[in-house]
């Protein structure tokens, strides 16, 4: 019997498959249609200090091998959320990870504290990388010092595992990861969506109400695999790899690059049975190779980064 159990900075999971934030609501929405026992944890939709109406429409655009979204963190705000939403989530089959978004260091700390205090919440993800709320939301993940400050402050509010979600829209994601690790993060989520846009050539207008959006789906998978690979070389805390994972082969790439778990997002919109398929596939893969645990393959493809060969003997 192979083991798919894993541990994300203190968050113990029966399966190394999380449902990515914003793609799976609270889990209740999918529950009537999907068996959820193959899900390691559900990362809830991000919540902010104050209620947010979200972005104007359209909020979704299909693209080749993926989609652009710009939802804009529509949510009822932390007060309402704690009073009216979280009570409904007690007694779920899999752990729930609360997700915090904010516009100041204070926001993050305040919402993190309120969320983490609730028994329904097993861990907290700090979404410092939402690309869809003007420029403010993502700023935190694009500035290593600011990212560290958010994490350090949030860290003081809870002992529950803190997962920090990083942005791919930076020059050096590993540098941000290092700062976030030293500030006290227990794990990293790598990556959030990649910024993008689409234009309607009939109307000459951007196709998203928010003008810009976040690209997800298989189109961004190679970007995400490299980000996990680079971050894994720079930090020792576990990584939740995410970005366009649809099949067991996709998931394996992330484990081999250095992820201790993976998160599924856009693939749920193709087939909500994706987590069960991936869990079954992982088990088969390990069994066929006589490997006892998924943990044994984490980072096994990491051979470093190549230097280009220089031409020799032609010094002119």
């Amino acid at each position: 019997m192979v083991s798919l159990e894993t541990d994300i900075g203190g968050l113990r999971l029966s399966h190394p498959t999380l449902m990515g934030s914003g793609c799976y609501g609270s889990g209740d929405e999918f529950a009537p249609f999907v068996d959820q026992t193959a899900i390691g944890a559900i990362v809830l939709k991000s919540v902010t200090r104050l209620p947010r109406l979200g972005n104007p429409t359209p909020r979704l655009v299909r693209t080749p091998a993926g989609m652009l979204n710009a939802i804009g963190l529509q949510n009822p705000g932390i007060d309402w959320y704690v009073e009216r939403e979280l009570p409904k989530y007690a007694g779920r089959a899999c752990p729930l990870v609360g997700s915090v978004a904010g516009f100041s260091v204070d926001d993050y700390a305040y919402v993190c504290e309120r969320l983490a205090a609730d028994d329904a919440i097993a861990a907290v993800e700090l979404n410092i990388s939402c690309p869809n709320v003007a420029s403010e939301g993502e700023t935190f993940a694009c500035d290593p010092a600011l990212a560290a400050k958010v994490v350090k402050t949030a860290r003081t509010t809870t002992d529950k595992p803190l997962i920090v979600k990083l942005s791919p829209n930076v020059t050096d994601i590993a540098a941000v990861a290092v700062e976030v690790e030293s500030a006290g993060a227990d794990a990293l989520a790598v990556i959030n969506t990649v910024r993008g846009m689409g234009i309607d050539v009939e109307t000459w207008r951007p196709r998203l109400g928010n003008v810009t959006g976040g690209l997800s789906g298989p189109a961004i998978r190679p970007i995400a695999v490299l980000a996990v690979y680079e971050v894994a070389r720079a930090v020792t805390i576990p990584i939740v790899g995410q970005g366009g994972i649809e099949t067991v082969t996709d998931a394996l790439e992330f484990f081999l690059a250095g992820a201790a778990a993976v998160a599924i997002g856009t693939a749920n919109f193709t087939d909500p049975r994706t987590p069960e398929r991936i869990a079954n596939g992982l088990r088969d893969y390990l069994q066929q190779r006589g490997i006892a645990s998924i943990r044994e393959i984490v980072g096994k493809a990491n051979v470093g980064l190549a230097d280009a060969h220089e031409y020799e003997g032609d010094e002119g």
Partner: protein
């Protein structure tokens, strides 16, 4: 030890019948007893593409009787093309029925159903239910050409009076189906499904006539079950369909964004703030 078998609750249906009603218009009959039992008029399913290479597709449930349900759709892109390639006997995964459907709790004397193009796929069950409840039902049905006025006769058999329109005048009225609505004797209830400009026009005419209208909206869905908040439409906060949200968000707006897939796809026209 055998691998754990997960118990998926996706309906795995079988294609029982496949007809091309017009070039690029497919009617897929499915053996789907559980779906039929649960379906109410105006609901939809998310059809999971068999090759798994594109996102699931929202399709109105056209027929639902006995053990058979059917889906009527136009081939418009990769996803519907994949579905159109299905052959009799092949499996098709569905989640649903989804959405709220039409509110037929109070029976009108005279109902008008306005359908534009592929909108016809979402109104047959409502037409049948209204006729059964004793209402006299008029189907105002418009399409680009006579060829694309698919399955109109089916509504005649169901007991509806047919009033047709085509953009090119090849059958019925030469013009938009909405022009017909303004000219006919006013009904007590209007149901409509079709392209957004048509629905807006229906809403405006209904307001002028003072007749309640229920509009079945079309939007791009990602999840189809209310999980992603991608398919929203502005709705009056006072609407019974408004999602539960704090009473006074910043700015004190009277509008909330409701999910077309979850709170809809059918909304009362006078509550939409679009």
């Amino acid at each position: 030890m055998p691998a754990i078998e997960y118990d998926s609750r996706v309906h795995v249906t079988r294609v029982a019948d496949r007809r091309e009603l017009a070039p690029g218009v497919i009617l897929l009959g499915l053996e789907a007893p559980e779906l039929v039992r649960a379906t109410r008029p105006g609901q939809f399913v998310m059809a999971i593409p068999p090759a798994g290479e594109s996102a699931a597709t929202a399709l109105g449930i056209y027929e639902a009787e006995g053990t058979r349900a059917s889906l009527l759709f136009f081939i418009t892109g990769k996803r519907t093309h994949e579905l159109a390639e299905l052959r009799v006997g092949e499996p098709l995964g569905l989640i649903g029925p989804l959405g709220n459907g039409f509110d037929l709790s109070s029976v009108p004397q005279r109902a008008a159903i306005v359908a534009g193009g592929v909108g016809i796929a979402s109104v047959l069950l409502a037409a049948q239910a209204l006729v059964r409840s004793g209402a006299s039902v008029e189907l105002l049905y418009g399409a680009r050409t006579s060829e694309l006025l698919v399955d109109a006769e089916r509504f005649g058999e169901a007991g509806c009076e047919l009033v047709l329109a085509t953009d090119d005048g090849s059958r019925g009225r030469h013009g938009f189906v909405t022009e017909l609505l303004g000219e006919r004797p006013a009904p007590d209830l209007i149901l409509a499904c079709g392209p957004t400009p048509m629905l807006r026009a229906v809403g405006a005419i209904a307001a002028e006539l003072g007749v309640p209208a229920q509009l079945s909206l079309e939007e791009t869905f990602a999840c189809g079950v209310g999980g992603c908040w991608g398919c929203v439409v502005p709705l009056a906060r006072s609407s019974a369909q408004a999602p539960s949200f704090p009473p006074a968000s910043r700015g004190g707006s009277d509008v909330v964004f409701a999910r077309v897939c979850k709170e809809g796809p059918v909304f009362r026209s006078d509550e939409l703030q679009w």
